[in-house]
Amino acid sequence: MNKSRINLWIGIVLISVLMLMMVVSLFYTPFSVTEINRLERFEPPSARHLLGTDNFGRDVLSRIMKGSQTAFFVGLVAVSIGSILGVLIGAISGYFGGIVDEIIMRIVDSMMAFPSILLALMFVSVFGVGLRNTIIAIGIMSIPSFARITRSGFVQHKELDYVKNAKIKGVSNLRIMFRHILPNVLSPIVVAASMGFANAVLAEAALSYLGLGIQPPNPSWGKMLSESQVFITVGPWYAIAPGVFITLLVLGFNFLGDGIRDIREKR
């Protein structure tokens, strides 16, 4: 196997496995995710409950599986929001330049200097908690990095001959930007999207942990961690599984991003 592809493959394998789990959970989980069973509270991992049970006697594995839906959904939608808006802003800024570029990039730079969790917190504090607002907050939070990367690609490419030729031929600016330049600067954006997915998963977990993200009864890995912390002396295993799964998913997308970058640099 090619050495430079190792990152890519680790990423693909991790994501595929977790995605498979997510797809399965749409149709099947070993136990009910919401049903409370007082007789089986805080059972350590066993053949019946592979990852043990929580304070309500619910099967941790089933809740982890269900929680993967939230993680993937939040990641996917948030990255879509962030990348579409970020690419749009970056493209305009890089292609047209001038004072608009100056203002946009100053704001982007300063936004990047802020802790992103703070921006997300402010958003949910204003618009309220819940799935939709969590996604929007995380999406907005990821706009600056997409804008910056897209802009630098556009700044480079707008001086190249193929763009000048297209201009001479009278192709419209919009078409040049999105049909000519964008495909050529796509690969760093894809890398950013992969890393952005990882960050979104982390951010959702953090917000939910703080009680300002996904609200019960929707299962979220971050929320599970905050519940588990209360009962850590009785059921320490409950605090393990959600953390491991967050880490694996984040790891998968980080590896994927590195892998895509490796291939691009090789070329």
Partner: protein, 316 residues
């Protein structure tokens, strides 16, 4: 100097923008701060009195100008929940957060940069790969989870520290250190991981330069070349990352103070948000923005100290 002014101005503009957004959005949010403070069972007269006291009935432009005036005179307003000046509340919580941030920063620099150097020195050989892999995992672990695990291991199983809570430095310095070290580690871990990567990449980039070959051709050994020549050059891009690290630490402390129930600024912020305490949230945002502006200013100064080229050439 012009570059700094431009940067400072941009930062100032951003802070103002952020604050305006907070103000406007808090204006349009559903729910009323006076109501949320009194609870739904409050009587009409009680509510009216409080609303008048808080100035909620004044027109928008008067509230805005009052708010702006307060900003520039250092008066951040009075917390709705605690009925205490916001600046007092923040100053009260500051020591915990600053101690945490400084401890985390020390850990990051003292652990991350040396490990990055070692990892770069071994390049693609086993120790290098191993450190890279560990740092890759370190970046993926959510800090609040490592915080929980640290509490479990050192607080509950080993009983080395009492989990949660804070002892003031003035009361018991060792106790304060003990209550802050675990949260500092939890905040530092992801940043250690990422600074290892940056250091490694930066050094390996620098190693490709001709000056490394020249230094080797003088008869220097690899370690001396790394420490005497490469490290300083490699630090320049790492300094840029320090701004990001600072943001990470601040963001990390917001979450980690919650995990360890530390009475710091981060915890205050979460409280302010959950209780919709508008002046308090604004004050905190202003405070964090201020810190970030200051940090970035210092980073720029470090730049010019370390890199003689910047004194001549302006960076764009």
């Amino acid at each position: 100097m012009f570059v700094y002014l431009k940067k400072l101005f941009a930062m100032f503009l951003t802070v103002l923008l952020v604050l305006l957004i907070t103000f406007v959005t808090f204006e349009i949010i559903p729910g009323n701060p006076a109501l949320s403070r009194l609870g739904v069972d409050a009587q009409e007269s009680q509510y009216e009195a409080l609303a008048a006291e808080l100035g909620l009935n004044d027109p928008l432009e008067i509230r805005l100008s009052r708010w702006l005036k307060g900003l520039f005179t250092g008066d951040l307003g009075i917390s709705m929940r605690y009925s205490v000046p916001v600046s007092e509340l923040i100053l009260d919580r500051l020591p915990v957060t600053i101690s945490l941030a400084v401890m985390a920063l020390v850990l990051i620099v003292l652990i991350g940069i040396p490990l990055g150097i070692v990892s770069a020195k071994y390049g693609e050989r086993l120790p290098g790969i191993l450190i890279t892999l560990i740092s890759q995992i370190g970046m993926a672990i959510p800090s609040f989870w490592s915080g929980i695990i640290l509490i479990y291991i050192f607080g509950i199983v080993l009983r080395w520290v009492s989990p949660g809570g804070f002892v003031p430095w003035s009361q018991d310095a060792y106790g304060a250190f003990k209550s802050l070290i675990l949260p500092a580690v939890a905040i530092a871990l992801p940043s250690i991981a990422s600074i290892i990567r940056y250091t490694r990449n930066s050094i390996m980039d620098q190693m490709k330069n001709d000056y490394v070959q020249l230094a080797l051709s003088k008869g220097l050994n690899l370690n001396s070349v790394l420490l005497r020549h490469v490290l300083k050059n490699a630090l320049i891009p790492i300094i840029t990352v320090l701004g990001m690290i600072a943001a990470n630490i601040l963001g990390g402390s917001i979450v980690i103070e919650q995990v360890f129930t530390l009475p710091g600024v981060g915890r205050l912020l979460i409280n302010a948000i959950t209780t919709r305490d508008l002046p308090l949230v604004q004050g905190m945002v202003l405070y964090i923005a201020f810190i970030i502006v200051v940090i970035n200013f210092f980073i720029d100064i470090i730049y010019t100290v370390i890199d003689p080229r910047i004194r001549l050439v302006q960076r764009g």
